[in-house]
Amino acid sequence: MTLALLVALALTTAMGTEIAVLATPRRRADAALRFVLAPALGMGASTACLFVTLLAFGSSVAPFLAIETVVVAGLAFVVIRRLRRPAVDDVPTPVPAVAYPRWATVLVAIVFAVGAASAAYRFWSVVDRHPHGTWDAWAIWNQRARFLAAPGDAWTGAMSDVLRWSHPDYPLLLPLDVAQYWIAAGARSTFVPAAIGAVFTASAVALLTLAVARFRGVVQGLLAGLVLIAASGYVEHGAAMYADVPLSFFVLTTVLALHLRAIHDDDRYLLLAGISASMAAWTKNEGLLFLVVAAAAALPAVRGGVSLPRRLKLFAAGAAPLVACLLAFKTKFRVESDMTAAMSVSSFGAKCVDWSRHREIATAFFHQTGSCFGMRASYVALPVLAVHSLATGGPPRRRRLVEAAPFLVVAGLFAAYYAAYLVTPYPLAWHISSSVDRLFFQAAPSVLLCVFLRRASQRATNGQPGAATA
């Protein structure tokens, strides 16, 4: 391991920690959240430094590390100023209404540990057989990383029109992430994309587990994490080095930030929502759709919250750096998406009223819901979880719009997927079969969060430990 690589890793970690500290209110309950968010946020943010380096200097390790150092130092200055201010009052977090016996907690923890070990083995086994990743990894993401890590200005070749088949319009977060460590190491090790896949996969599982545990107790948190790692293909997609797992992490972070905002009646979580939604947009084109949906979800007001312009300002402040990168990328290279390029607006109307297309998409979504969570297991596990959720959920009550925002974001994401399939210029059956599993994995952690938190939106401001509805 070279010194430059160690420095790059240290800077990424520092940047992620600083962003996690700045993007969440100083609340003791958020300490674990910041710890889980830091690695992935750091990897997301450091790609902006490499992108600026490439634009200004080409691919070169010294300017890249210099820019990262300046950013880390600047963020450290803001963090220190912030830490001098008094912390916000710690607000009680809703605690689960159902207390599990200790043996049940231990049992679920053991099952989770076995599941995590099994997932780690499955991850390793895919990486061992596919050291360069599977199809999309070497045809798109790692191939682009090889361009971005090349000396001088050879990186621009990745956006060549000749390579239209490799989707040169796709945003650059994942390939830049891989390239930054290749540049720092001075070598193209296949370990780097595999390690990045591992960090994002583990971070998504940890974040889901932590989030559900915080609001519904340790047992429910472990069960949520268990369903995700048992999902047929989620861990494998992470090991395959696809961008869908990193995207799913950023979607989950955004959805969780919106939920925390509603729970704590605290608009400052919109900064985190903006950062993570922009990282989603910087990861894949679907993330751009998600950014728009998430920005709309930032609109509803919380009680005692700030004005609409200030809410949008908070969200935009978080999103601005990576949206700027995205705009610079789209403006500089002007590569049109293969999908939009092939679309014919005149055929939209006919496609929208073609009921066979609706039936085909709905059927695919239905089947994917089952296969996403393990076809055989899920038809047993999901009803059990649903019944359990109902049994422990307390009486139904009216939900404020701001509390529904996370659920609306996930629904909006699926609506966007549905609409994209409806008007796709490609043969529908082929388009669905080649992408629907990945789309579902992008949303899977967030769907699980919504399922497990379905009734956990009780505001915490008046909550007494044990009194809030789980």
Binding site: H130, A139, Q143, R146, F147, W155, G157, E236
Partner: protein, 112 residues
């Protein structure tokens, strides 16, 4: 990514190793051609062996851009037939390097 493809062992690493010597030969070349005797795909949804072989070649050679066709000084030829007839895929070219496995680097003296 279905369970079958996750379980299968691919040959990307093998292609990567086979084409590794080209990095030195191609030097500062930014774009090369590519021909194969495999059946060409008919459209975007026709992902056949020819598509996979071409994509793997591009992955192995990045940051050199690999363009289908013979319009460049250097052309990668992938032959599946025996005996391989790389030069017939690119008339006027000579074999600059035999990389094994039916893969050749052709050079067109008439293109600079």
């Amino acid at each position: 990514l279905d369970s079958a493809s996750a379980a299968a062992v691919d040959d990307v690493d093998a292609v990567d190793r086979r084409l590794a010597p080209l990095k030195d030969v191609l030097g500062s070349e930014r774009i090369v051609g590519y021909v194969t005797d495999r059946t060409a795909p008919t459209d975007v949804s026709d992902v056949n062996d020819a598509t996979a072989a071409y994509y793997k070649t591009q992955y192995a050679l990045a940051p050199v851009v690999v363009e289908r066709g013979t319009d460049h000084r250097f052309v990668i030829a992938e032959c599946t037939k025996t005996p391989p007839a790389a030069e017939s895929l690119c008339p006027g070219a000579r074999v600059a390097l035999d990389l094994g496995g039916g893969t050749f680097l052709l050079e067109r003296p008439d293109v600079r």
